[in-house]
Structure formats: C-alpha cells, structure tokens
Symmetry: C2
Subunit: 130 residues, 2 copies
C-alpha cells in the first residue's frame, strides 16, 4: 500500500475543497487548525504535496507563495500584483500549444501554466485615486 486515509489528510482535502479563493498552504493551515488544533504545518505541506501529486487538487504557481485549487481541469489564472488575489482566467487552455512546442523542441510536454499579471478592479481604483 502506498496511500493511507488519515484524518489529517481528509481535513486538508476538505479545507481546499471548501474554498474558491485559491488559498496558500498557510491559509489552509489556519483553516485546518480550526478543526484540529494539533495538526502541524509540516503535515499540511506534506498532504498538499501528496494531494496535488495524486491529482486530487491542483497546485498553482504564483509569486510569494504557491496556491491550491479545487478545480482539476487545466486552466489559467490571474494574479493581482497589488493584493495577491488569484482568480481563474476566462480563456480556455490551449492544448494545441503543448503539441506544437513538443514537436518543435523535442521536449516531452506535460502542460503549460499561464498567469496573467495586473491589478484587480479594487487595486486599480486605489492606485487611480493616487
């Protein structure tokens, strides 16, 4: 056997699934501590890695700290450089890119990750009023 269903792993998975805002590992840690205040950060990180590797959650790379996502389909993200908010991007994953790049480079492509950078409406307004 190589995977066990521990109480901690389940709590971490539930925590990710109950949020729509692309939480960081520390966000999850804080949520998880509400349910069981003896879970350690190490356990949260280990389980997030494990769940992401096994495909039960998705891991999103953005500046400062990685985020986690309950969506399993491939999609892009927007990152607000003002406040760090992450949201899903309304453009489809371009599967053809992976084939094109593989064919032209000889790489065996697994996926690509796209992150749009800019200011969310709120931060834009805040920046605008100088």
């Amino acid at each position: 056997m190589s995977t066990r269903n521990t109480k901690q792993r389940q709590i971490v998975l539930d925590a990710v699934k109950s949020r729509r805002d692309h939480p960081s590992a520390d966000d999850i840690y804080l949520d998880v501590r509400q349910k069981d205040n003896r879970i350690s950060r190490g356990t949260v990180y280990r389980n997030l890695n494990h769940l992401a590797e096994s495909g039960e959650i998705t891991h999103v790379r953005v500046p400062s700290a990685d985020r986690y996502d309950l969506r399993l389909d491939r999609h892009y993200h927007l990152f607000c450089v003002g406040c760090g908010m992450v949201v899903d991007a309304p453009v489809p994953y371009q599967e053809s890119y992976d084939e094109t790049v593989a064919a032209e480079t000889g790489f065996q492509i697994q996926r690509h990750r796209t992150v749009f950078e800019g200011l969310c409406p709120r931060c834009r307004a805040a920046a605008g009023e100088h």
Copy 2:
C-alpha cells in the same frame, strides 16, 4: 536622479547579456565574481531587480529560482522538470489574451507569463532507459 551607473551594475548587466541560458541570480553572482571578487550577493540581487524593473533585462519565473533573460520582447519559456533547463518557447506571445481577459474581468492586465513544463530530450532519454 534615481539611477547611477556603478561598476557593479554594469558588470551584472554584462553578465546577463553574455549568456543565452537563462541564468539564475546565483549563476550571475558566480560569473560576476570572476570579474570582481568583492561584489556581494546582495548587490547582484539588487541590481538584477533594478535592471528588470527598468526594462533592461527580463525576469522569468520558474520553479526553485527565478531566472534572467537578455531578451526584452515578450515570449514564453520551457522548463525541464528533470534538469531545470530553461529555453525560449517557439510560439508567439498572444497579446489578444491580455485584452480579452482585461475586458472580461475588469483587471488592468500588464502581461501574462506562460511556462511549458516537461522533459528535455536528454532527460527524456535518461528517463526512457529506465
């Protein structure tokens, strides 16, 4: 005045411009030490940040450590998950995405970053021979 041409900054810029392999800050630090063995890591990091902000070099976000690029036009990258090698991707930057996403989300988009993940030919071969 807000920008000075120090010997250190010039050496860092030259170091980035003399490489085609998307070096990390530490790679640049090591190169730079060949020319002047008193330059500190802090100075290298500060100058890389400064040069990237002023648009004289480009900064590439990939796992483990950021890289720097002498190319100034927007383009995508490939990252080998086996050896960490970074190369330019042979697909064009999709400017229309930025407009679409801005229009649909209300974000003020500055750019998007795309990184393809996979195995380079060498690592693929190494993995293949099991």
